[in-house]
């Protein structure tokens, strides 16, 4: 049984302009100990999708489909059970640690919070040491720590209740490259040691090459391609994944540095997604048929699927 099995997940926000569907039918599965890298532009629905796995959406938001976490449907849980599952089975490492730490409470108090809520029996000092912060620093307030230390503290907090699944929502944005590498290594080590499953959200594909086993690329609220990380980074099939990969120059490759290719246009407005393949207005290889035919994920190789009629 996979640890996480998502089937046909839809998330619809309520807004003053009417309902807006940010996630339109995502299905995926994740085994214990596996890392899924989730990539996509801002607004592609990747954060919304992962937060909806724990129903961390604004009140009034509609979440449909099914999310089986360790054999239990998260979307059918009663509030009390849901609170118990949050953090104990799936914890979140948020982006921008400085905003999610309460500025007027000590780091150790905030990590303790997770332990207290779930009556877990881990120790704050041990958790801090596991992420490479000396136990004395626990008495510090968030503003006294560096950006990297704050993110480590967040990771320590995520580990407090010994979850099976870690959702890392762009955990390395706003960190400089060296610190970013340290945090990535820390996450990779912890994952290996504890056998954690991890969903790693980013818009930076180069980050995924070091941590992910599998990749999933989202566009306009859907998965457009999913496959093994290494192969996909070398040669993505879907034109959107290709464009995303090509946007990062390869170090030591002068050709890619001189011609970093971007992608023209903006991601579609979730209130008005184009007909057919939602990517067709920006797609370099679009044909007439693309505007008319809605595309599903199709298996192109074993364990590698893409949603494009030209592949």
């Amino acid at each position: 049984m996979p640890l996480l099995e998502v089937d046909d997940l839809h998330v619809t926000y309520r807004s003053s302009r009417g309902p807006i569907t940010a996630v339109r039918g995502v299905s995926l599965r994740l085994d214990a100990g596996e890392t899924l890298g989730l990539a996509g532009e801002s607004g592609s629905g990747k954060s919304t999708m992962t937060m909806a796995l724990l129903r961390l959406v604004p009140p009034g938001t509609q979440v449909t489909g099914s999310v089986m976490l360790a054999g239990e449907d998260v979307l059918a849980m009663k509030p009390g059970r849901l609170r118990a599952v949050r953090w104990a089975q799936a914890a979140v490492v948020f982006q921008g640690a400085q905003h999610v730490l309460n500025p007027v409470r000590r780091i150790s108090q905030q990590i303790q919070e997770a332990i207290t809520v779930h009556r877990a029996d881990s120790k704050v000092a041990d958790l801090l040491e596991q992420v490479g912060i000396s136990r004395r620093r626990g008495a510090a307030y968030p503003h006294e720590l560096s950006g990297g230390q704050k993110q480590r503290a967040m990771i320590a907090m995520a580990l407090a209740c010994d979850p099976q699944l870690l959702i890392a929502d762009e955990p390395t944005t706003a960190l400089d490259v060296m610190v970013q590498a340290q945090v990535l290594k820390l996450l990779a080590d912890l994952q290996r040691d504890r056998g954690l499953a991890m969903i790693f959200i980013t818009h930076d594909l180069s980050v995924l090459s070091t941590v992910a086993d599998r990749l999933a690329v989202m566009y306009a609220g859907r998965l457009v391609e999913t496959g093994p990380a290494k192969e996909m980074l070398r040669g993505a099939k879907h034109p959107y994944s290709k464009a995303l990969a090509a946007a990062f120059p390869t170090i030591g490759d002068p050709i890619s540095r001189l011609a970093p290719s971007g992608l023209a246009g903006d991601p579609p407005d979730p209130a008005a997604v184009p007909s057919g393949c939602p990517f067709h207005p920006r797609c370099p290889i679009a044909i007439e048929e693309c505007a008319a035919v809605d595309v599903e994920l199709r298996e192109i190789e074993r364990g590698w699927r893409a949603a494009c009629i030209r592949v």
């Binding site: 724990l54 961390l56 009140p59 849901l82 609170r83 118990a84 599952v85 949050r86 953090w87 104990a88 914890a91 979140v92 948020f94 921008g96 905003h99 999610v100 730490l101 309460n102 007027v104 409470r105 905030q110 919070e113 997770a114 809520v117 779930h118 907090m157």
Partner: protein, 268 residues
């Protein structure tokens, strides 16, 4: 600083009232053998009132009554205001809208007629007066707290606490309440003078207990006995100055607290 000294002075006066004058001196019978409306002398430092009671005794005991009513009314107003403000800010949907409507209702009600009606219905002991004042004074603070809660509710650490599996109670007590606490305290110190003034107003209009008189009640006695036309300044000046003094004291302390808790006001 001036405010704090004044405040300490008044509180000491209220606490040590029995040292200066016995409570029995407030009774009507206490003044039977004294001259009525006598000017200040060695025996009566601030003269006597129209039934021969020692005005100095009225003043020190009045401090007790005025402070008691002012503080109790504030406690009531702050408790009601904070609880309703927290709920109105944290809840969503119809609960929030209903709270807001109740708040608006109390904000626009004319205070004096309402308080008079309530006091007549419920009785006129100092405790009832305090409850009446507190029960009508909470709306402004509730609105302030709601606004702050609305902003705190959207903070990242509240989102994190939700992801952590924390209950609403946990989030409110650990994250929201500490965030609004400074506001509650500063607001409370500014409600006190308002409540004391309100009490004086109501007493001056004739409500309140003649034999455990607040300063406002003493002023009413002075007014109705014609002390003003008889130029009996020792009768109306002391309670009047006391009211001004205590209101000033609380306002100064309240402003100082607000500046401590919200340093952004320092530049102004």
């Amino acid at each position: 600083m001036v405010g704090l000294i004044l405040l300490v002075l008044f509180v000491t006066m209220a606490l040590t009232a029995p040292l200066f004058a016995d409570r029995s001196e407030l009774q009507a019978s206490a003044g039977r053998d004294n001259p009525d409306l006598a000017s200040p002398s060695g025996k009566f430092w601030l003269g006597t009132d129209e039934i021969g009671r020692d005005v100095f005794a009225l003043m020190v005991w009045g401090a007790r009554v005025s402070l008691y009513i002012g503080l109790l009314a504030t406690v009531v107003a702050v408790l009601v205001g904070s609880v309703l403000g927290l709920i109105a800010g944290y809840a969503r949907g119809w609960i929030s809208r209903m709270m807001l409507a109740v708040d608006d209702f109390f904000l626009v009600l004319p205070f004096i007629p309402l308080a008079i009606v309530l006091a007549l219905l419920l009785g006129r002991s100092p405790t009832v007066m305090a409850l009446v004042i507190g029960g009508t004074f909470w709306a402004g603070g509730s609105r302030l707290i709601r606004a702050q809660v609305l902003s705190l509710r959207e903070r990242g650490y509240v989102e994190r606490a939700t992801a952590l599996g924390a209950s609403s109670r946990h989030i409110i007590t650990r994250h929201v309440l500490p965030g609004v606490a400074p506001l509650i305290i500063a607001n409370a110190s500014l409600i006190v003078p308002g409540a004391i003034l309100a009490e004086s107003t109501l007493a001056f209009l004739g409500l309140g207990d003649r034999f455990s008189p607040s300063w406002g009640k003493v002023l009413e006695g002075a007014q109705s006995s014609g002390a003003l036309t008889l130029n009996a300044w020792w009768y109306y000046l002391p309670p009047g100055l006391c009211i001004i003094g205590i209101v000033l004291a609380f306002t100064l302390v309240g402003n100082a607290l607000e500046r401590i808790f919200d340093p952004r006001l320092l530049g102004r």
